[in-house]
Amino acid sequence: MINMDEQKNILEIKELKKKFGEREILKGINFSVNKGDVVCIIGPSGSGKSTLIRCINFLETPTSGEICYKGEDVLKKYKDLALYRTKVGMVFQQFNLFNNMTVLENCVVGQVKVLKKDHEAARQTAMKYLYYVGMADYINAKPNQLSGGQKQRVAIARAMALEPEILLLDEPTSALDSEMVGEVLNVMRELANAGLTMIVVTHEMAFAREVASKVVFIDQGVIAEEATPEIIFKNPSNPRTKEFLSRFNQNN
């Protein structure tokens, strides 16, 4: 029985701390993610949400603490983080598509360079995900020829083309206007329904309430509350959570 539980637990974060100089951004974060979970991280600006998600795939090096992937400490298991990073995809607020490449090349380059797939196989996989996010028609376009929502959908396809086990999304809709937010959220919703494990930093409370299996509320570098969306949105135990969500709950 214990073994099965360990299998389900895909990512575990233990006592994660991150300092920038003297400023401590993360003050000991603990939480775990099960396979198939959609974890939404919410919280006020500057609370450390983005730093946390960037620490998970080591874009920021944690000051101390442990990140365990499938029960093993990542820093001990993977001498070269490249392999781990292909299993933990990342989508950025500012899309960060490679500006010198077409949409298709964006989704192919990682598979060819990092996973050493041959070009035709990489192209097939890329097309599969581009079709999935509804961008298959645009494979010849350059990123600067696309709208924000289109760029973000390509960015999701690029991350998915490496067929990761976990997808990290760092405020994927914050740079988009309200019309484009919808198209990106739809893609994310579909991925969640397909059973992909996702960790999403978001200000889209409606999305969190609808899709998340767990909501983590971060305030001033610590997890203030962690619960199912029903509890967080209807009946939060921490007064800080209640305060943060008061505006959202008023409108709904």
């Binding site: 490249a82 598509l97 645009y138 490496l162």
Partner: protein, 265 residues
């Protein structure tokens, strides 16, 4: 016996007839020095720029860290020394120094290529560093996030974008090199200036000869300048794109058809 020319233009035509071949040879040597020197200099610049931007993780070992620091210090020293001394002096030091210290008897021409290349390399190193810094850090982050290492990121993502940004500066370097290789006459490289001086000495017609030289230099730099503009325009790529429509039912196995050659361009 033909009568000697009297007016300025008669002299110019006379000198062109007499020494046309000499001018052409000199111009070819100058152009070769500038082109090859700039090309090799660019390669040096890119290598130095890429090495200087290797990120050093705070968790790397002390040995590795101090190794990187040493390499960086050496490269900085190279840039400062070759940027901070005149090329005419470098030519003398390299040509005569190699002979007296290392006992290497290199030809003046080889010394010329060497000096132009490493001199340009020092300038290009700084240009490339600037070019790399000009690219949004998000590009590097995205490449890191899909598992690419520093060299893969540089080769596939950063350098192609940086190259476009620094093309005007590469053009500058090429044009400066066409003109400044004239200083190599001090080690008797037979480039355009050296050839002109030889031609001028025969009839003591310095103004007429250097008028011709002046025109040749300008034609070379102007041609190169226009050519580089054209290359820049090409690098920008097409401004629009073709939509490609796929019918997923076309192949029941879900394979996407290969785009035709035209679609890829």
């Amino acid at each position: 016996m033909t009568t000697m020319p009297t007016t300025f233009f008669e002299w110019v035509f006379f000198l062109l007839q007499q020494y046309g071949g000499l001018f052409v040879k000199g111009a070819v040597v100058t152009l070769l020095l500038a082109l090859i020197g700039t090309f090799v200099g660019c390669i040096i610049g890119f290598v130095v720029g890429i090495i200087q931007t290797i990120p050093v993780d705070p968790n790397t070992g002390t040995v590795k860290k101090s190794f990187y620091r040493c390499v960086r210090w050496l490269l900085d020293a190279y840039v400062e020394v070759f940027r901070g001394t005149p090329m005419i002096v470098q030519a003398m030091v390299v040509y005569y120094g190699s002979m007296s210290i290392f006992n290497i008897d290199m030809s003046a021409m080889f010394a010329g290529f060497l000096v132009v290349s490493i001199n340009t390399g020092a300038y290009m190193a700084e240009t490339v560093r600037g070019g790399i810094n000009s690219i949004d850090p998000g590009q590097t982050e995205a490449a890191t996030a899909i598992g690419m290492n520093h060299f893969q990121t540089m080769r596939s993502v950063i350098i192609p974008q940086a190259l476009r940004n620094i093309m005007p500066q590469i053009g500058n370097n090429l044009i400066i090199n066409i003109k400044d290789t004239s200083v190599l006459n001090v080690i008797s490289v037979t480039e355009l200036y050296f050839s002109s001086k030889s031609a001028a000495g025969v009839y003591y017609k310095y103004f007429e000869v250097f008028f011709i030289t002046c025109v040749i230099y300008f034609v070379m730099t102007f041609t190169v300048s226009r050519f580089l503009r054209w290359v820049e325009g090409r690098m920008a790529g097409p401004r629009d794109y073709q939509l490609v429509t796929y019918d997923p039912m076309q192949d029941p196995c879900g394979h996407f058809p290969m785009p035709t050659r035209k679609e890829q361009d």
